[in-house]
Symmetry: C2
């Protein structure tokens, strides 16, 4: 668990996209984001107050979160100066970078001296159990995709928002580093040892109140040759009561696999449901989430309507249209 | 790669079953097994010459293999004396124990001093790639099961033997610690990091001659809530041309999951084939392997015949009846 609230470190981000982790925190947990810290040359701006480390501490910040990708996989001297200043001022640091904070001797030593935490969220910090396959109380929905990076995390976050707005108890459950940084906790599933994958998801989504929904962040795709095993562990560990199908229309091939075409929504529905029903025979597909970011408003709406008519399931782009219709479908289960 | 041949260390095995790793080596790679080393009280006997460390070295042994489970997860002082003697005599040591040889300071230090290897085969020693999903030359068959521990490893080993006897080029590819100790190499799939599971199997089964068969050791089951993700990674990383369905009739429930009944062979066939065809549309189910060890000869034969009539696929217990009919089916592809 990462202590909140955060100061979002944008470093020398060359553009807005490089700061997408910070943007995700700003969009989805604005209460966690007290301010931003930018270095000279930074081209990203979240519209938050620019705070020095000292000002952040005064404002009650507990953790500096690295909300930006680093260039060339190196933590530069300019970054390091800020990170050391943060530790000396009593802040923890959280990072989803590939190269770990703990592997930087200066940071590790300073954190130890000051009793501060370095959260490398790509690396599991828990000894997860082997999955026991038992149903838990409370309800769970999982976003499954035709491919990687089609909008599964955003779908779950939009669903959390829409359910909460309806007065339904709901918790987003992060399974990747961006989601973990947004919420401050979760399971970095792609870094878990094979035998413990499903168990880590059982651990993430424990018994809960009967009318509470866990919105589980999806990973990979059953149809993606590189990561399908991760997806299946998520389905079996998550024990979902409901699935939402996610797709980004128009992709020429599976992400990173030029020789693989994307499956149809029908194929995804059938295979994901077969898999989910192994652990929960009552699991249902409740709706479809399309990532229409490449389309204009009219084309986006038309595609949703056509897909809805074809599949007989509520279909929205939750980021564009809101997830209320999907939340209604869940709430009706 | 573990250097061969081996001296099989049986320790103080309380019964034959405790030495099943050693038995597997003796059964499947008799050329690797030069002798056995037993401590006082050992109740297992492989029928191999009892050799001291010195005699083993003279006989050309390169590695002492721990072929027995340890009691209480502890490497006892009696064991340690033998292991240190082996290192001093110039042998490597290989182990599939949960507690690692490298974590024993005396062993680690002695190995370093003598320039010897400690092979903890439960732990990956390779940085596996992310799977690329591309087909490779050569042919591959994977054993898939209704459940864990239904005989997938034995099926693959029996197939290797039967194909070799027919003059077909064939290589067993180990994916678990017993298989790795038997052959001296392989991938400990259940200990691989999630993102690299499928890639590790691509690495294990690279391009080969067009008429060569890889016999890939199966793991887990698509229907087993704890390990299904591992199984799917094996299917997608293995890119199989053929599947053999494995079952042990009569199990009351899935192994370790009292609330889960086993799937039918029909359900296994349909789901495994759907999954395999995502990466290889030409994949076929070629036969069925039944573990009939709980049945008498007549009942075993009857069950195979009934299953064959029902499923329309060659059905044998390969350990009991040989795998020739399955090998013929593969060879005809």
């Amino acid at each position: 668990m990462i202590e909140r609230p955060y100061l979002l470190f944008l470093g020398d981000a060359p553009d807005k996209l490089a700061a997408k982790v910070a943007q995700g925190i700003r969009d989805w947990r604005p209460d966690n984001a007290v301010g931003q810290l930018r270095l000279p040359g930074c081209k990203a701006d979240l519209g938050l107050p620019d705070l020095s480390i000292g000002e952040a501490v005064e404002a009650g910040v507990k953790t500096l979160v690295i909300g930006v990708a680093n260039r060339g996989g190196v933590i530069s001297p300019a970054w390091k100066t800020v990170l050391i200043e943060a530790l000396e001022a009593g802040l923890d640091i959280a990072s989803g970078l590939h190269n770990l904070l703990r592997d930087e001797p200066e940071l590790a030593e300073r954190a130890r001296e000051r009793g501060r935490q370095l959260h490398d969220v790509r690396v599991p910090s828990v000894a997860y159990p082997i999955a026991n396959g038992r149903p838990r109380t409370g309800k769970r929905v999982l976003a499954v995709g035709t491919d990687c990076s089609v909008g599964k995390m955003y779908t779950a976050l939009c669903l959390e928002k829409a359910l909460t707005e309806k007065g339904v108890k709901a918790t987003f459950r992060a399974t990747g580093q961006t989601g973990i940084l947004i919420t401050g906790e979760g399971v970095p599933l792609d870094a878990v040892i094979a035998d413990f994958m499903a168990g880590s998801i059982e651990y993430l989504t424990p018994d809960n109140e009967p009318d509470h929904w866990d919105l589980i962040e999806g990973q990979g795709s059953l149809f993606h040759a590189s990561y399908s095993g991760v997806t299946l562990a998520l389905i079996h560990g998550g024990h979902p009561d409901a699935l939402v199908l996610c797709d980004e229309p128009g992709r020429p091939h599976m992400r990173g696999l030029p020789d693989y075409r994307l499956p149809s929504l029908e194929a995804l529905r059938d295979l994901a449901l077969s898999m989910a029903r192994i652990v929960n025979p009552d699991c249902k597909v409740v709706g479809i989430s399309l990532n229409t970011s490449a389309l204009d408003d009219e084309a986006a709406l038309k595609l949703c309507e056509e897909t809805e008519a074809r599949m007989g399931l509520p279909t929205v782009d939750p980021f564009r249209h809101g997830a209320k219709r999907l939340a209604d479908a869940l709430d009706g289960l």
